[in-house]
Amino acid sequence: MDPYDVEGSGIHVRFLEANPTRAKFIIQNFNLESANSLRRYMLAEIPTVAIDIVEVLDNTSVLADEFVCHRLGLIPLNSRGVDELIYSRDCDCENYCDMCSVTLELNAKCEGDEIMKVYARDLVLASNPPNDQIGQPVITDEDRQGSCIVKLRRGQAIHMRCIAKKGIAKEHAKWAPSAAIGFEYDPANKLHHLDLWYEGDDPKQEWPVDEERVNLDGGHPAEDEPFDYDAVPQRFFMDVETVGGLDPDQIVNRGIKGLQQKLAEVIHELDGGDNANGDFGGAQSPTLNGGGFGGNDAGYTTPGYGGGGSVWGPGGTAGGTTPYGATPYGGSAW
């Protein structure tokens, strides 16, 4: 038994550091597959809120509409209580409503001689969100301004209605709760998963060693310690840093919960449960080709290019036909 494993053989989480922006912890007695699944889930599938639709009412700034819109999308919004919001595609409403979206309004006009900066704090809530936190721009700087969106000169104005929706980072990076998640196991390379390259005579000269982590992971291997072929990684160092929309512990919690839910779905399906083809409301990968699964998919259409039809004219004829009669093969007199 591992002498450092004071907690026994059950899954155990030990926090090294926890503060409002970051959670560093070790998961012990875990397996690699699950740990990585957790990492992937936290990176890509935890729903958050981000501005998705922008109605440009006025924009006389120097930045182009789509450019400002993109900037708006990347502004982290508070996503605490995002569960109270439903996905817009699951909502019964026509376009968007309070059930599935939060509306923010940005309205600024520069009337002084000084250059005016428009910040994330200038985004004003203009709808009734399910709770009073969700949708607020995340502001962490000392001046309580948030990120700068655009600068305005005298006479320039910007007026936009921003509709923030719930989504996941698989669809767009703006919904990512965390930009990067630290993940490490076996810092002393005891498992020999990695063959460290070194130019000189001594790898120690070239490779930095995080002694602290090595100690946490059971110290350096003893000189005469035989290599254990069957050893598998069991202890994982993770470092979750939030972009601000969710607390780091929440990210981890939701990550675990989400994973569980996914597994439950699989079990449910395997069991042939009574509601086999139901939707469990979990996160969903974006459906690349527009439509839902198995629907009548008309094939990929270039978004924004008038739909249907190729650039050479409106669509219509299905399959390949030549202009010379229905089909050149068969049915003719030759």
Binding site: A64, A180, E184, P208, S310, W312
Partner: protein, 1192 residues
């Protein structure tokens, strides 16, 4: 305390706050980037040199001199140009709306935005007199001549950055180009033969001049004070004779050299003999038998002409060349001869005696070449070249057009004489008619039009050819694709279009002579390789003569003699700008050049530091020795440090090969090195300098980067709102590179960022990075990595191509018809005024402007629309675009209604699969997958790469610089510091790896920049550590959206029935011969038939089985009933017989003309390629009949 001046020193640091401050407060005193302005200096200074006092144009007027014409009564009309006036760009007098004079200025930005020409009025004060009367003068308008920006004729000449911003220019606008029809044009520099230096040439083609001609010649490109040139050549004939050759108005002439010598000065055979062979008492005369023999023959052969005095010789020459020189009948033969000598023989020298001495020197050099005493000069090295500057060429053209204008008076004068019964010039009639009827009919008075034509096409329309070897390609568009490309246009120098056709590669070779003047790595690969070079960034070009009036005296004081000696080593020539100052001994020549050099660097001796002292030492069969001093414009020169005085010296390419210049301080050899470079990087061009660690790359990669740097989507300018380029690319999220060269700051390149720092992992991860493809992190793209836009300008002109101006001629107006109905569909994209709404999204077929026809109502003075129809300009591109700006372009008069608008469109271009990216090391790649961030490998800290490239991109290309940049970038990103990436900082003992490895280690990373990484998919640690760092990535302008070509069905060629070609037209891609071969070889017959036949010109046709012809079949036409439904009946006209009564009624058919036949019904329907029928028809026209046998 007065505010300190704007700081002009830049370091490698980011200096963001300072740059930010400069942006928000453009300096009011001086630019912060003086080095940037220096880059274009040759262009502007050469343009200014045309118009300054005593400048090129004044010299040109002097050289043109008086033109005279005679009537049939012996009267002479003389004309001359007294002065040329050239105004700044102003509104024309026809504009009566703008009243304040300061508002009448037309600024360059206005010309750009209006798609017009930035030009100023030029006029000439013409003097004329009849016989010996008084000069009368009158001013003539010469039209509007384009003005170079920031030249002395430009409103921006000495503007400060703050003013420039007010004038809607770039804060660091440096000018040097013209604006013609809204397009920025630049006159490219040209490499031409070095002026006033006689070059020994050996060329087999010289033998073709005629019988007896040898391959030897001495050539001198003699440049007049007005910068126009005249090439003189001395040809050696096999018998030892020497002929003088010149070109005049594109025709070649040959004259015996002796005749010219005799015409120049009063001389005799003895004098000529001694001047060529050497004085009688000089040492070594006995060894000179070769030359003595030939000079003897030279003198003897000339005797046949029997010309004995200077006057007689001149008259003889004059009589032969008077018509060639377009002289009038009243000029005497002798005067014509004098004119000939002035215009054609070594015109760079004024005095006849100088010309005489120079010609003798050339003969000596020629004989020395033939004898093998000295070698030929290589015209392809920079040593014997100089730059023909844009301004000089511009001035030369102006001169020629002026001269042609005066010459062209011949025809209206003649015409007037014919109509007026040959009245004399002294008559009253002539006085009254001269201006309105004669002068007004002279050709080529509109100089402005000619100059605009030259600039917009780059074509030189010239009766003389201006002593140049090409007539086209002088001007190029100064594309502002990104800043590298833009600045490169000004540093570009071309060898000449003529050399592009040469099969040999000698002209393209990089010789050591161009060290420090032309960049070795900044030349394109492919056709223009080596012909189109770029100046090294510290290379300057002289734009005016420096004052060398004291030099002849100093040289005389150092000891030269007029007499030549027999031996070459005892008679080393000393020349100043192609003028022989004297001869001296070998030893003395070294003393002279060394002394002059010391004085020139020290200053205060009347020897300017820019003067070039070309000391060619005596050698055994090497370059013809001597001391050649050059002080005139067009020379390349560059700064180096003169060691004896530890001071700045300028050296030129002529002297450089014979000097010892150390590159670095440790290389200085005591007693040998005279100079040392200030900085080895001075030999690279501006663009080549920006490749970080280029010294570690394989050299072709640096060439590629110079090319790709210029194709990058960057920031074309900061005044985008006032620009109307046809197409311009812009990266929206540019960054300042972490790794930059030492010159990055001083050229202000942060004002025009053109890429982004990307985290790059070198790993073969998915297979999607094979063969130069690259994977980009999808999340990075979503966070706007490489996001760019294209701006396009569409001009809607209602009076396109119509010359008819004026209010009454207007037939169309913008807007909806006032009497027609305006539907909602019409208004979808358009505003009330019929112009598009700013910000509107456009798709193919959308309306971008509305117009209607009108006619002018004289009674009311208004425009009426009669038909009520509204017509539209449409957006015809396939891509989605947004209206960025709408420009309403009024007329110059300011009173006419709107006839022209220009619409700027913005096309967003997010990176898509297939777009091209590159690092700064010639490592281009294509985006092959947008990889989800979760699946990407990541480091222990969770960092994922933005870009993944394949390790196979490196071994064969050896771009070590990219590895070093990656490490340097990583270290810089970690420390927040910009890193100096200039080449030649490291060497074998002090390597880049150690430098940056040490830094990385201190920051807790692996010494070599590797990191352990984990598979994003399994979470397992990858078994190898991965090289990962930060590299500056450029997005290139080649994007799939501009290139993809697909077709199912589409337009076909009407003649052959095959698909047409061309992406724009929706054509197909040809399956050519080789593709066909491949399909055959694979045995894919069905595919082959599909490509070549079914998807091409598949045609069903009828064929007569009887006679085997397509052409004789014809459909039948029933005479009585309408065509029945069902199959068409086809019969063969050839096999049918005319129906007579005997024919059965049911079998009779008729063609469309009512002729009745029977028979010919053995018809088959076959499928053939459409071209086969076409071939049959073509052959039929040649009386060849094809017969097809049909089995079934």
């Amino acid at each position: 305390m007065a505010p300190s001046k704007t700081d002009q020193q830049w370091s490698v640091d980011f200096e963001n706050a300072r740059k930010h401050h400069l942006f928000s407060n453009p300096p009011k005193d001086r630019t912060a980037y003086p080095e940037l302005l220096e880059l274009v200096e040759p262009h502007i200074a050469s343009f200014n040199a045309i118009f300054k006092d005593g400048g090129q144009l004044e010299e040109a007027i002097k050289d043109i001199g008086e033109k005279s014409f005679s009537d049939r009564h012996g009267n002479r009309l003389s004309l001359r140009i007294e002065k040329i006036f050239y105004d700044k760009s102003m509104l024309p007098p026809t504009n009566k709306v703008v009243l304040k004079p300061e508002n009448r200025k037309v600024l360059p930005a206005e010309a750009r935005e209006r798609h017009s020409t930035y030009r100023g009025k030029m006029s000439a004060r013409l003097n004329f007199k009849v016989n010996n009367g008084d000069w009368q003068s009158l001013d003539r308008d010469l039209g509007y001549v384009p003005i170079m920006l920031r030249s002395s004729r430009c409103h921006l000449e000495s503007s400060t950055p703050a003013q420039l911003v007010n004038y809607k220019e770039e804060s660091e606008e440096f000018g040097g180009y013209f604006i013609v029809n809204g397009i920025e044009k630049i006159i490219r520099m040209l490499q031409v033969q070095r002026r006033n230096y006689p070059m020994s040439i050996r060329r087999m083609a010289f033998k073709n001049r005629g019988p007896g001609y040898s391959e030897f010649a001495v050539l001198v490109r003699s440049v007049r004070p007005d910068q126009s040139s005249q090439t003189n050549a001395l040809h050696y004939l096999n018998d030892g004779n020497v002929n003088f050759r010149f070109s005049w108005r594109k025709a070649e002439y040959l004259v015996p050299t002796m005749m010219i010598l005799n015409a120049l000065v009063e001389t005799n055979d003895r004098e000529v003999f001694q001047a060529i062979v050497g004085t009688a008492q000089s040492e070594g005369l006995g060894q000179r038998q070769f030359v003595i023999d030939r000079v003897e023959l030279l003198l003897r052969a000339y005797k046949v002409y029997g010309l004995h005095s200077r006057a007689m010789t001149r008259a003889y020459l004059g009589s032969k060349f008077r018509s060639v020189l377009q002289l009038d009948e009243l000029t005497s033969d002798e005067d014509a001869g004098t004119y000939f000598l002035r215009k054609i023989v070594l015109p760079h020298l004024g005095a006849d005696n100088d010309k005489y001495r120079m010609l003798l020197f050339m003969i000596r050099k020629l004989y020395s070449l033939v004898e093998g005493e000295s070698c030929e000069d290589n015209p392809d090295t920079l040593q014997h070249q100089e730059a023909l500057l844009g301004g000089q060429l511009y001035g030369m053209i102006i001169k020629e057009k002026l001269e042609e204008w005066l010459n062209s008076l011949r025809y209206p004068l003649n015409e007037w004489g014919r109509k007026q019964d040959w009245k004399p010039f002294t008559s009253q009639q002539f006085q009254t008619d001269f201006v309105p009827k004669i002068l007004a009919r002279a050709q080529g008075e509109d100089l402005g039009k000619a100059m605009s034509y030259f600039l917009s096409t780059g074509n030189l329309v010239s009766p003389t050819g201006l002593d140049l070897q090409q007539t086209a390609g002088f001007c190029v568009v100064a594309e502002k694709l990104n800043f590298f490309r833009f600045i490169s246009h000004f540093r570009m120098i071309h060898r000449g279009a003529f050399f592009a056709q040469l099969k040999t590669t000698t002209v393209r070779k990089l010789t050591g002579h161009s060290w420090g003047y032309l960049c070795p790595s900044h030349t394109p690969d492919g056709a223009p390789c080596g012909l189109l070079s770029h100046l090294a960034h510290k290379c300057k070009i002289a734009t005016q003569s420096v004052d060398v009036s004291a030099v002849p005296k100093l040289v005389a004081g150092l000891g030269v003699s007029d007499q030549v000696s027999a031996l070459l080593e005892n008679s080393m020539v000393v020349q100043l700008d192609g003028r022989v100052l004297g001869y001296c001994s070998k030893k003395q020549s070294k003393v002279i050049s060394d002394t002059l050099r010391y004085w020139k660097v020290e200053g205060g001796h009347g020897v300017p530091v820019e003067m070039e002292i070309g000391y060619v030492p005596h050698s055994n069969g090497g370059q013809y020795p001597g001391v050649y001093l050059f002080s005139q414009p067009s020379r390349f020169f560059r700064p180096v440090k003169y060691l004896p005085l530890d001071q700045l010296d300028y050296v030129g390419p002529f002297e450089q090969p014979y000097m010892s210049i150390a590159v670095t301080d440790p290389e200085i050899v005591s007693g040998d090195s005279t100079h040392v470079e200030y900085d080895a990087r001075a030999m690279l061009s501006v663009v080549a300098n920006q490749t970080p660690f280029s010294d570690q790359n394989q050299s072709p990669r640096n060439m590629y980067q110079c090319q790709m740097g210029k194709q990058t989507m960057g920031t074309p300018g900061t005044n985008l709102n006032y620009r109307t380029d046809n197409k311009s690319y812009r990266i929206q999220t540019g960054q300042s590179p972490i790794v930059r060269s030492s010159s990055y700051g001083s050229y202000g390149l942060d004002n025009f960022p053109q890429g982004a720092n990307a985290v790059v992992a070198v790993i073969s991860y998915t297979g999607y990075d094979m063969d130069d493809a690259m994977i980009i992190n999808k999340s990075a793209l979503e966070r706007s990595f490489g996001y760019g836009s294209i701006y396009k300008t569409k001009v809607c002109d209602l009076e396109e191509g119509k010359a008819g101006r004026g209010k009454k001629n207007i037939q169309k107006l913008f807007g909806f018809s006032p009497i027609g109905t305006v539907t909602a569909a019409m208004r979808e994209k358009l505003d009330e005024d019929g112009l598009p709404r700013v910000g509107t999204m456009l798709q193919n077929g959308d309306y971008i402007a509305a117009w209607h026809t009108v006619s002018y109502d004289n009674a009311t003075g208004e425009f009426d629309n009669k038909d009520g129809n509204t017509q539209f300009f449409k957006y015809k591109d396939d891509e989605l675009a947004f209206v960025e700006e709408v420009r309403v372009i009024g007329s110059e008069t300011g009173t006419d209604p709107l006839q022209k608008i220009s619409i700027k469109l913005r096309i967003p271009r997010t990176p898509v699969i297939g777009d091209k990216f590159s690092s700064r090391h010639g490592q281009k790649g294509v985006l092959s997958q947008k990889w989800p961030a979760t699946d990407l490998p990541f480091s222990e800290s969770g960092l994922q790469p933005d870009v993944i490239i394949n390790p196979h991109a490196f071994p064969s290309r050896m771009t070590i610089g990219m590895f070093v940049e990656s490490m340097a970038g990583k270290s810089g990103a970690l420390s927040g510091q910009a890193v100096d990436g200039s080449p030649w900082q490291f060497d074998e003992k002090n390597t880049a790896i150690d430098h940056f490895g040490e830094q990385l280690r201190k920051q807790g990373y692996n010494y070599h920049g590797n990191e352990p990484m984990y598979s994003g998919i399994t979470g397992q640690e990858l078994s190898a550590d991965i090289y990962i760092g930060v590299v500056y990535y450029q997005r290139l302008r080649h994007m799939v959206n501009d290139k993809y070509q697909v077709r199912t069905t589409g337009p076909i060629n009407s003649l052959t029935g095959q698909p047409i070609k061309g992406r724009k037209k929706g054509g197909g891609i040809r399956v050519g011969e080789m593709e066909r071969d491949a399909l055959l070889a694979h045995g894919t017959a069905y595919l082959l038939q599909d490509r070549l036949f079914n998807c091409s010109d598949y045609t069903k046709t009828t064929l007569c089985r009887g006679c085997g012809s397509f052409l004789s079949t014809t459909p039948t036409i029933s005479e009585f009933t309408r065509k029945k439904r069902g199959a068409l009946t086809v019969r063969c006209r050839r096999c049918a017989k005319l129906a007579d009564n005997a024919a059965p009624k049911s079998e009779v058919w008729s063609d469309g003309q009512g002729i009745r036949y029977h028979g010919g019904d053995n018809i088959a329907v076959v499928a053939v390629p459409g071209v086969l029928k076409y071939l049959d028809v073509e052959l039929a026209s040649m009386n060849v009949r094809l017969r097809y046998n049909v089995d079934r």
